[in-house]
């Protein structure tokens, strides 16, 4: 690749919160590097663009596309496929694109229930049980909104992905590093990592970067942070009884939350090669329980009030089970 013709850059959000964009903007001066080294052809948050233009582009003509957000609607899926087709390198950017993230918790309920709940809240004035329709006739014509798919999916369940960059959102210093790398690659000063690599991360888990002191762990009771805050500033948070997801969560964030006195909630997803993030946490928490009698173990487990949410907070759609039974099957 040569630098005289600026390679094209795109960034898109599907079912996401916009935090990934903010994280990219938070690389501050690096944005200018992006502007200097790329022709930004498509980036909703920052600039106007036309889908027709994207559709008009030659396949593979975009060098780098950062795709954030999960696939919640048929519309998301369409764009994911479109951008895959147009991009040489497609990066699943951020937790939503990599594994579904918080919105993935929606996979714990049937889509119908989600719709029903949203339009029957305490302040909703909906006596006639009106729900949005994918197509609706108004006097002047017909209006359309996208279809919600049965479950939310990470992008790699819809299209082929070249790289993964986890985090909710990815840490700006990691984004900066990746931008630097890509620019080096453009100038032929560096090589791209092998396809499928998880980029912008450490190769261990959060504990690796956590400064807290750790010992052999034996937990007699799990606790909730509001009951023991502020936690001991130097001791491992899990050892203090708070179910901290750090041991199973990919490193790369500099153990932000633990160093701020809060437990890791797992936004960086599983470590290298791990097939199911939740399984790793189940075994991690189970391993530190100091009891042999089933009754006593159960009592200790009661200290984790929401086991499923605890271990799949960010990763349900990307897990082996992907969703709850009710999301697959109609009651």
């Amino acid at each position: 690749m040569t630098a005289d013709v600026k390679p094209k850059f795109a960034m898109y959000w599907a079912a996401s919160c916009g935090g990934c964009e903010i994280a990219v903007l938070n690389t501050h001066e690096k944005i200018l590097d992006v502007d200097a080294n790329f022709e930004v052809v498509f980036w909703p948050v920052a600039m106007d663009a036309k889908y027709k233009d994207v559709e008009a582009m030659e396949d593979g003509s975009i060098l780098l596309t950062l795709f954030n957000g999960g696939i919640r609607t048929d519309e998301n899926e369409h764009i994911a496929k479109l951008l895959r087709q147009k991009s040489k390198i497609l990066v699943a950017f951020g937790s939503c694109a990599c594994e579904g993230c918080i919105p993935g918790l929606a996979n714990l309920s049937p889509v119908g229930e989600i719709v029903h709940t949203a339009y029957n809240t305490i302040t909703t004035d909906n006596p006639h049980e009106i729900y949005p329709r994918t197509s609706f006739d108004v006097p002047e014509g017909e209006l359309h909104i996208p279809k919600l798919e049965q479950i939310l999916r990470p992008i790699d369940q819809v299209v082929d992905v070249d790289y993964y960059m986890p985090g909710c959102p990815p840490e700006s210093h990691q984004i900066a590093a990746v931008i630097d790398l890509v620019i080096k690659v453009i100038h032929g000063e560096a090589q791209l990592p092998p396809k499928g690599t998880v980029i912008g991360v450490g190769n261990s888990t959060v504990c690796d970067e956590c400064q807290r002191v750790r010992n052999v762990k034996l937990i007699k009771a799990f606790k909730r942070i509001q009951d023991i805050a502020p936690v001991d500033p130097t001791l491992c948070i899990l050892e203090q009884g708070i179910p901290c997801n750090g041991p199973a969560t990919r490193s790369g964030c500099n153990a932000r939350c633990p160093s701020a006195g809060a437990q890791c909630i797992g936004c960086y997803g599983p470590a290298e090669g791990v097939i199911d993030y939740g399984a790793r946490l189940i075994t991690a928490f189970a391993s530190v329980i100091d009891a042999k009698e089933p009754a006593e173990i159960e009592k200790i487990l009661d200290g984790i009030p929401d086991p499923t949410g605890q271990v799949y907070r960010f990763s349900l759609p990307g897990s082996l089970m992907k969703a709850a039974k009710s999301a697959w099957v109609k009651e």
């Binding site: 261990s204 690796d208 052999v216 034996l218 750090g246 790793r280 991690a284 391993s287």
Partner: protein
């Protein structure tokens, strides 16, 4: 799973005569494998009458050589039977033995299912599972560790003595540790031994002396093992040698100190509470070693600060009140645990009245009574010490085969009861009643002994004794002990008045067996006996390489079996010693230091302390020699940083997919 592997797999389906072929359509399975599993790399699938036969093995070896097979699946019996066989075959053909998988379609299919169609389908799934798995298998190399030729034997009973002598005679050094002042164990307390009735002391003493004087045996009595570290071939053991307050170097064992000692103490251990000893004592005349031991709790000097009679009279000045416990540290390659048993405490069966009714005796008490060297000089008398009983009841299975106490049979009680019957009969001519549930007189010469006792005119009542009481009903019961029993042969209740009752108590695990097991890294059964590696095929080895068990520590048994096990254990040890190095199964866990976050969650999980935390690098590390390959840490590592050979995630995941025929559906879809 991972990227497509290009392995060449051979599948061999065994008929096992009609054992498998009778239920599973082996031809169909083989054809199916060849056709449906081709995409996974199955290049040949054969069926054969007996895969484990030489021609069967040659078939595999030939294919490996000629077809260049890189993986082998044998669908036959349980891997516990023939895994080694086929691994060896592969090895002979130059293929790493760990690239062979057995698919158990006999024990798990043909023998347990009847519907041919269903069984054949399951067999296919099992084969598919094995094929998917074997592709993920990695070649493994056996691990070799040098063996320290020294051996530790814990327990100086007959089993321990036997084991120690066998090894010592073979020319290797043994540390024999006994917690009591003398070796000899329970056998030293017995008078006669069934069924031959030869005197225990006569046959035991020479062995004790031999052990005590053997140049290759370091005898450490009055000592406890405190700490064990290391692993097979390289154990390091810390032994506490309790202070005897006697300088062993100077003591001649003349016994004067015992004569002169003014303090009499009831001997609870050796004399079972029937007799006395002094505060400084040797438990019995033939004790080995014959240095006395000073009993601190009872010695007047230690209590009052004056006396020292023993010191005054000792001709060699061997008394040393200042002596302290000694910690001895030894390196050994193998360890034999022969820690024996505790006698069941007959007090627990309160309705038999032991401890409440004076003339109810335990088996051990009776052993002492009938022993010519015992407190009564071998006279069988009542508690009063003079009255000879005219009638004696012997109750079997006390504390054994009883759901309130121990479910198991204590093995020796029947024969012990018969022995007692004989001795009573011989010494007193009293009428003897035996109360038994079943007579168990297996083994050589035992039933003959039973016949002999019957001929002597001893009486036998089949039934579990309900109660022993002194509450007399009528004249004939006055002043007697009445045994209340249902005679299940005559089918009627009986009340039998006797002068003396002997409880043939059962055996139970040492009260500290669990702690001892933990210290040596072996487990106990639910009953509390040490667990052997295999109940039939490996009765003296344990799950921990280099640790062996012998005698009653492994379960109740009689003297011949204890001796046999002592010898067997020593044979296993000698075998290891002579190999000079030990080969460890290469099923081990390893930590990927780059992935390890040092969270230390695995640290608490290993019962063999194989996992060490390296604080400086902030990572955990596994010592392959200590690791027993259970895989618990592999499953526990939240970072997926620990992997296990032989049973890797990849292998098991692939097997799951195979068993669910997912690999096939995937292709067909």
């Amino acid at each position: 799973m991972s990227e497509k592997k290009n392995e060449r797999v051979g599948v061999y389906v065994c008929h096992c005569g009609s054992n498998i072929a009778g239920v599973v359509d082996v031809v169909d399975v083989a054809n199916w494998a060849a056709e449906k599993l081709g995409h996974q790399g199955v290049v040949i699938a054969r069926e054969y009458r007996f895969m484990c036969s030489s021609p069967g093995q040659e078939l595999i070896e030939k294919d490996i050589k000629e077809l260049g097979l890189t993986r082998i699946v044998v669908a036959a019996c349980s891997p516990h039977l023939h895994e080694k066989t086929f691994r060896t075959a592969a090895k002979n053909a130059g293929l790493n033995p760990y690239l062979v998988e057995l698919a158990s379609i006999r024990e798990q299919v043909s023998w347990v299912h009847t519907d041919k169609a269903v069984a054949t389908e399951k067999a296919k799934a099992v084969v598919a599972g094995a094929v998917s798995r074997v592709i993920e298998n990695a070649p493994l190399e056996e691990i070799k560790v040098p063996i320290n030729p020294n051996t530790l034997v814990v327990g100086g009973g007959i089993a321990g003595i036997q084991a120690a002598l066998e090894i010592a005679n073979a020319g290797f050094h043994v540390y024999l540790v006994e917690r009591e002042p003398s070796i000899g164990g329970h056998m030293a307390q017995f008078d006669k031994t069934f069924p031959t009735l030869d005197c225990a002391a006569c046959i035991l003493t020479p062995r004790m002396v031999e052990a005590g004087t053997h140049p290759n045996i370091t005898l450490l009595t009055w000592s406890d093992v405190e700490k064990v570290t290391g692993y097979v071939g390289n154990f390091n053991v810390t032994i506490r040698k309790k202070a005897r307050f006697i300088k062993e170097a100077d003591c001649t064992g003349c016994g004067i100190c015992q004569e002169k000692c003014p303090k009499k103490v009831i001997d609870e251990v050796y004399e079972a509470g029937l007799g006395y000893r002094k505060a400084v004592y040797t438990p019995f005349a033939q004790a080995v070693p014959n240095f006395p031991v000073m009993d601190k709790e009872n010695c007047t000097y230690f209590i009052k600060g004056t006396c020292k009679a023993c010191e005054k009279f000792c001709p060699t000045g061997a008394i040393d009140f200042k002596q302290e416990d000694q910690l001895i540290n030894v390196d050994v390659g193998n360890i034999i645990l022969a820690t024996g048993y505790d006698l069941f405490d007959a007090r627990r069966v309160s309705n038999y009245g032991y401890g409440r009714l004076p003339n109810v005796f335990t088996s051990l008490e009776f052993e002492r009574l009938s022993n010519s060297a015992g407190p009564t000089g071998g006279h069988i008398v009542l508690r009063d010490g003079k009255t000879t009983p005219k009638s004696v009841g012997i109750i079997h299975c006390v504390g054994s085969r009883d759901k309130n106490f121990n479910n198991y049979c204590s093995v020796i009680c029947c024969m012990q009861g018969l022995k007692f019957a004989h001795l009573v009969h011989e010494h007193t001519g009293a009428t003897v009643y035996n109360f038994y549930i079943d007579m168990r007189t297996a083994y050589k010469g035992y039933d003959e002994f039973y016949q002999r006792i019957l001929e002597e005119g001893n009486l036998f009542v089949r039934g579990k004794v309900a109660e022993v009481t002194d509450a007399a009903r009528g004249e004939r019961e006055k002043g007697k002990l009445i045994i209340q029993v249902e005679d299940t042969l005559a089918g009627k209740q009986r009340r039998i008045p006797v002068d003396m009752v002997i409880l043939s108590s059962g055996l139970q695990p040492r009260s500290d067996a669990k702690e001892v097991g933990k210290m040596f890294g072996i487990s106990c059964s639910t009953d509390g006996w040490f667990t052997e590696k295999h109940p039939k095929l490996d009765p003296v080895a344990t799950m921990t390489e280099g640790i062996y068990i012998a005698g009653c520590a492994q379960g109740p048994k009689d003297i011949p079996s204890s001796v046999a096990q002592g010898a067997a254990a020593s044979a296993r040890v000698l075998d290891k010693i002579l190999q000079r190095e030990v080969i460890l199964e290469p099923i081990k866990a390893t930590v990927d230091k780059d992935k390890c976050s040092g969270c230390r969650i695995c640290n608490g999980l290993c019962p063999y302390s194989a996992i060490a935390f390296l604080a400086d690098d902030n990572v955990s590390e596994i010592n392959p020699a200590l690791c027993q390959g259970c895989g618990t840490c592999v499953a526990a590592c939240p970072a997926g940083a620990i992997s296990g050979t032989g049973f890797s995630d990849e292998q098991i995941m692939a097997q799951i997919d195979g068993l669910l025929l997912r690999n096939i559906e995937a292709v067909e879809a």
